[in-house]
């Protein structure tokens, strides 16, 4: 009984892929809708927005060990509202879940957590900043200086993150369009974290240093119903400049792209649909599906023409709603590192 009950409850509105990946294209009735010309209020906006249907605190980090081995770390806390607003105790319609991963050139460790809102098992406070689910935590006096911890059955990490630059805003001052029909989200980042800490892996602890990138995004219907998934890049070049770009795949085979050029000083330039071009170069069979793990990414306006290659093609996130997410190496016109996320590959 139990297994069946749980299974169907967890189907959620989520797995309805006809409605875009993970249900992100479902109708947003009753929820707040992102509007152009946002006015952010920090630090309050680092906290949750329960009137919006979906929200995330998304950290990816490119790290290196003392011997120069590359590592990738992911820490993501999702908030998914079954209904707008908050409720008391167990009646809260807010559902929290989180994914954590450590990627090495030869292995990929994943863990997942679920929690109900309203009882203290998971949540986010803006001041002092604290985002948590179970023992996974991103916490600090302010968002600029936080510790980041998570653990799974075969890994654990404890990292200190210190911001070296300002917050950056994507799209039109943080209003990030996702389709020609007007779907959009509020989207800002802190891409300038310096990181040091320790990874506990099956072979023992590894001290690491590197950089991390936090994405904050909230919306109620971020995808159009004709969009089946996305390919998202966050690239940090050796010059100190950075590039965020995504390609939303339409069910008819076309794509909607968007990009933000981030200078080493934090100055940004947003690019609308078509400016960024991302083409799959090579597929790999991962978890029984064909997934492009090598890409050519070009942004002609900035003379960018790079090859993006997965550090470990097997970076499959085998969680309730599975997807691919892992660290990448960048070569070509610009060299660097970054993260790649690919969703909706069936």
């Amino acid at each position: 009984m139990n297994a069946r009950l749980i299974a169907f409850l967890l189907l959620w509105p989520m797995a309805a892929l006809g409605q875009g990946f993970a249900g992100l294209g479902t109708d947003a009735t009753g929820f707040a809708i992102p509007a152009p010309d946002p006015v952010f209020d920090f630090p309050a906006d680092h906290g949750p927005h329960p009137d919006y249907r979906i929200e995330w605190w998304y950290v990816t980090a490119n790290l290196a060990g003392p011997d120069g081995t590359d590592y990738g770390v992911q820490w993501t806390l999702f908030r998914s509202a079954l209904a707008p607003g908050e409720g008391e105790g167990w009646t809260s319609p807010q559902v929290w879940f989180a994914h954590a991963a450590v990627t090495t050139p030869g292995a990929h460790h994943v863990a997942e957590r679920f929690a109900r809102g309203g009882i203290g098992q998971a949540g986010v406070t803006a001041q002092p900043f604290d985002a948590w689910i179970d023992d996974w935590q991103m916490t600090g006096e302010t968002l600029d200086k936080v510790t980041l911890t998570a653990s799974g059955t075969e890994f654990r990490y404890d990292l200190r993150l210190a911001a070296q630059g300002p917050l950056v805003f994507h799209g039109d001052r943080g209003f990030s369009a996702k389709s020609a029909e007007g779907q959009a989200s509020y989207y800002y980042s802190q891409p300038f974290y310096r990181v040091e800490g320790v990874l506990d892996l099956p072979d023992g602890p590894v001290p690491v240093t590197g950089e991390a990138w936090l994405d904050r995004e909230y919306s109620s219907q971020p995808l159009s119903s004709t969009q089946s998934g996305w390919d998202w890049f966050s690239l940090s070049f050796d010059t100190g400049d950075k590039l965020m770009g995504f390609r939303l795949r339409q069910t008819d085979g076309s794509a909607y792209t968007s990009a933000t050029w981030i200078g080493a000083d934090g100055a940004t330039q947003a690019y609308g649909d078509g400016a960024l071009i991302a083409e799959p170069l090579q597929d790999a069979e991962v978890a029984g599906r064909e997934i492009p793990v090598t890409w050519r990414v070009t942004l002609p306006d900035r003379d960018i023409d790079v090859t993006v290659e997965a550090l470990n093609p097997e970076a499959w996130m085998a969680v309730s709603i599975p997807y691919w997410e892992g660290p990448v190496r960048v070569g070509g016109s610009h060299a660097g590192r970054g993260y790649l996320e690919m969703t909706g590959y069936e």
Binding site: M1, R4, L5, T91, P93, I119, Q121, D135, S151, S320
Partner: protein, 798 residues
């Protein structure tokens, strides 16, 4: 050739339809009782499993409170925040118009198990389940929950009388906001987990394999049933053994003829084995069908017993489960094999030209007698050894086995000795012949008499146990239920109001606080009582300090029931952890019959210190007339019916539960005795057929057929009476083992043994009556044997 042999084998049965019937009926009856009991056990276990599966009890470890029946929800959050992957469960019973429904609340997000989305088509979304509230229950339970505001979805896989819902919804339904009953531990835990003691010292981990509490509690009950099933089977096997022995003896001539005609011995043995196998499968099949009816007949009572005694829900419908019908067939084949192996072995070793004349059974008995005597002495010695060693429950059942089989084996020897004595004292020719002939017949009847001895001893032992239990229990109820009236099952606010109301009117109010808990690791109830003279005057201790009540009243000690004391190995002055940091020495151990749970009593004040949120769920009232009280309270507080109960109703209810508990035992008892009666009838019938050559000369010497028939009848009565006399000490020994050993180990209380001579006399008379009835038909046949048939005996003489 095979065909010819098969025809010869079948011809034997055609010529002896009575033997055929005896064999089939004996084995079928034995199998029926055995598989009936197994069916009941299987049904009950399936119900427990369904309940356990609902909660993942069987598959996952659990964290349960060390004491009390719940803990704060914050403990759950603290554990999760420390990394522990646990999932909350709150459970309790919800009162409906048609009885109680067990509500189980869980959190679908954290429950371990299948988290992967598999096709599910029901249109209940997570939002409804989590916030609005949806319950899942089987159809019958769903109907009972129709009055709730929440939607109830019918799901046949939910355990009976149970409804599943979200933890938050369950907390609201049960009025237990912010409380949880237990936590399910996910099998995969993250690295670097802090120890449970540091994070949640109030919880303790229970391993998945240890099974559900219900399973533990009811285990002994099912073991009792199984033992009874085995006993019935053993009685049946005695019949089968007797029949098979006779069949093979009578076939010796046929075997010799077939072998001299050239049939290889090996083929003959194989064919006879196959014959035995097929017959036992046939008999087993009939037995399983009969067993189904036995089980269907008894199951409602068993279900009622389990519910009343242990609170375990067992569905009343019986299903054909492979477990029990296969075991029924297997035990039929095994039993027939055991009974036939010796005979087949003798046939295999018989010299080809050995005399084909059926050896009289008496001849075979000569050498075997010493062997049998030795075995009986050995078994009884083992039984005594186990009794002295006082080992566990299984060993005690082994003791029962040794005692009964040892006693049965000793029976023919003792009867033989008594008959020899009778013969030496006999006066006159007919008397001498009577005793001698009875001795001569003893080997042929001994198996049936052994079956009778077993059945009688079991009957005697069990009825002594039940009657002793009843006397003790009634006595105990009189002591325990000393208040005139009991008020219960009302919300806490009105409870407080009623208490004040009664105290103003000068009544003595004795509130009883109670939580389900675990004490010393065993399921138990912790009670808080307002100690007063009423307790001191009425409760009887098994063992206690002289000032036990004063110490309890002062909050310096705890008293525990005998069950808890024995299970947890506690006795006077040992300290018991009561939860909430409270540890008190044991000042007394009291008898608490009929309660499967451990129990501890502390003072009202101490209880309030540990469980400040608990309010009395019932209280007793002294000094007011129950009828007046009911009408006064009913008017003043608008109480639901059944919330004010007078002492005699409570007693009647308790006794009803008690009686129901032993309905099944009584039914099995009667069935076993019936099987034994059948055994005697069949043995006498078989013997009467082959005894003609022995009786004909006596008739020829002048005894009439009528006299011979009367002598046959008297013989049966004498043998039954002697057996009944011997069954008395065996039955009393059995009763002692049940009262002093099985009860202590299975239920946790030792009962005083009472004797019931009138009951024994009645049972003896019944046995004599049964034996007389069984002997009547063969005797009548004797009386009506045509003279020509008696004469033919001499004509045929070789």
């Amino acid at each position: 050739m095979t065909r010819a042999v098969l025809q010869a084998l079948a011809a034997h049965w055609r010529r002896n339809p009575l033997q055929f019937f005896t064999f089939l009926a004996g084995l079928a009856l034995a199998t029926a009782l055995w598989s009936g009991v197994q069916a009941i056990n299987a049904e009950a276990r399936a119900s427990y499993d369904a309940a356990a599966a609902t909660l993942g009890e069987g598959r996952f470890d659990q964290l349960v409170p060390r004491a009390g029946d719940s803990f704060p929800q914050d403990t759950y959050v603290t554990l999760r925040r420390a990394g522990w992957q646990v999932s909350p469960v709150v459970e309790g019973s919800l009162r409906t118009d048609t009885g109680r429904v067990r509500i189980v609340g869980l959190d679908p997000l954290t429950t371990p198990g299948a988290l992967s989305p598999v096709g599910g088509a029901r249109d209940i979304d997570l939002n409804s389940f989590l916030t609005v509230g949806v319950l899942f229950a089987d159809a019958a339970t769903a109907d009972r929950l129709a009055g709730l505001p929440q939607e109830v979805v019918r799901d046949p896989s939910v355990a009976p009388d149970t409804a599943l819902t979200d933890v938050g919804v369950a907390q609201r339904l049960l009025d237990r906001q912010g409380r949880l009953s237990r936590l399910i531990v996910a099998p995969d835990q993250p690295l670097g987990l802090p120890p449970l003691d540091e994070v949640a010292p109030g919880l303790t981990r229970v391993a998945a394999q240890s099974g559900s509490d219900v399973g533990q509690l009811t285990g002994s009950f099912h073991l009792n049933l199984t033992a009874f099933g085995l006993l019935s089977f053993a009685v049946g096997i005695f019949i089968v053994h007797g029949t098979i022995g006779l069949v093979f003896e009578q076939r010796r001539g046929m075997v010799r003829t077939l072998r001299t005609l050239g049939v290889p011995l090996r083929r003959l043995i194989v064919l006879m084995t196959v014959e035995l196998l097929l017959l036992s499968l046939l008999a087993g099949g009939i037995g399983v069908v009969l067993g189904y009816f036995v089980a269907a007949l008894l199951l409602p009572d068993v279900a009622a017993t389990l519910e009343g005694l242990y609170g375990a829900q067992v569905s009343g419908g019986l299903q054909l489960r492979p477990v029990w019908w296969l075991s029924g067939l297997a035990i039929a084949v095994l039993g027939a094999g055991m009974a036939g192996a010796g005979s087949l072995w003798r046939i295999a070793r018989m010299p080809i030209l050995a005399s084909a004349r059926p050896r009289a059974w008496a001849m075979a008995a000569g050498r075997g007698r010493w062997l049998q005597g030795g075995a009986a002495v050995l078994l009884l010695a083992v039984a005594a050894g186990i009794a002295l060693a006082d080992a566990g429950l299984i060993a005690t059942f082994a003791l029962l086995g040794c005692l009964l089989i040892g006693g049965a084996l000793a029976l023919p020897l003792i009867l033989g000795a008594v008959l020899a004595l009778g013969q030496s004292r006999a006066k006159g020719v007919i008397g001498g012949w009577f005793w001698a002939d009875t001795r001569q017949q003893l080997p042929g009847l001994s198996l049936a008499l052994m079956a009778l001895l077993l059945a009688m001893a079991a009957n005697l032992g069990v009825s002594t146990m039940v009657s002793s239990f009843r006397l003790t229990f009634i006595d105990f109820l009189d002591q325990r239920l000393f208040a005139d009236t009991y008020v219960r099952g009302i919300d806490s606010e009105r409870m407080a109001g009623i208490q004040a109301f009664l105290q103003e009117r000068g009544a003595t109010v004795l509130p009883l606080l109670r939580v389900d808990s675990r004490l010393a690791g065993v399921p138990a109830e912790l009670m808080g009582a307002r100690i007063g003279p009423a307790y001191e005057d009425n409760w009887v201790f098994v063992d206690a300090r002289p000032d036990a009540w004063a110490q309890v009243a002062a909050g310096e000690a705890v008293i525990v029931n005998e069950q808890l004391a024995r299970r947890a190995g506690l006795w006077l002055d040992d300290r018991l952890d009561l939860g909430g940091g409270l540890r008190l020495p044991v000042a007394g151990v009291y008898g608490d019959y009929g309660n499967p749970l451990g129990q501890a009593v502390i003072s009202e004040a101490r209880f309030a210190g540990v469980f400040p949120d608990e309010t009395p769920r019932q209280f007793g009232v002294l000094g007011l007339d129950p009828e007046d009280l009911r009408s006064v309270l009913g008017d003043a507080f608008d109480l639901p019916p059944g919330s004010v109960v007078d002492q005699s109703s409570v007693k009647a209810f308790s006794l009803a539960v008690f009686e129901r508990t032993f309905t099944v035992t009584a039914a099995l008892n009667v069935l076993t005795l019936a099987v034994a009666g059948f055994a005697i009838l069949m043995s006498l019938l078989t013997l009467s057929a082959i005894r003609l050559p022995q009786l004909a000369p006596v008739w020829a010497m002048g005894l009439t057929r009528g006299t011979l028939a009367r002598v046959e009848l008297i013989r049966a009565l004498v043998l039954a009476a002697l057996t009944a006399l011997l069954a008395l000490p065996l039955g009393l020994a059995l009763a002692w083992v049940l009262l002093a050993m099985v009860n202590v180990q299975a239920f946790g209380w030792r009962l005083p043994m009472y004797l019931f001579p009138l009951d024994y006399a009645r049972l003896g008379l019944l046995t004599l009556l049964a034996a007389a009835l069984a002997a009547l038909w063969p005797a009548l046949r004797m009386a009506r044997t045509p003279v020509s048939q008696l004469l033919r005996v001499f004509a045929n003489e070789r």
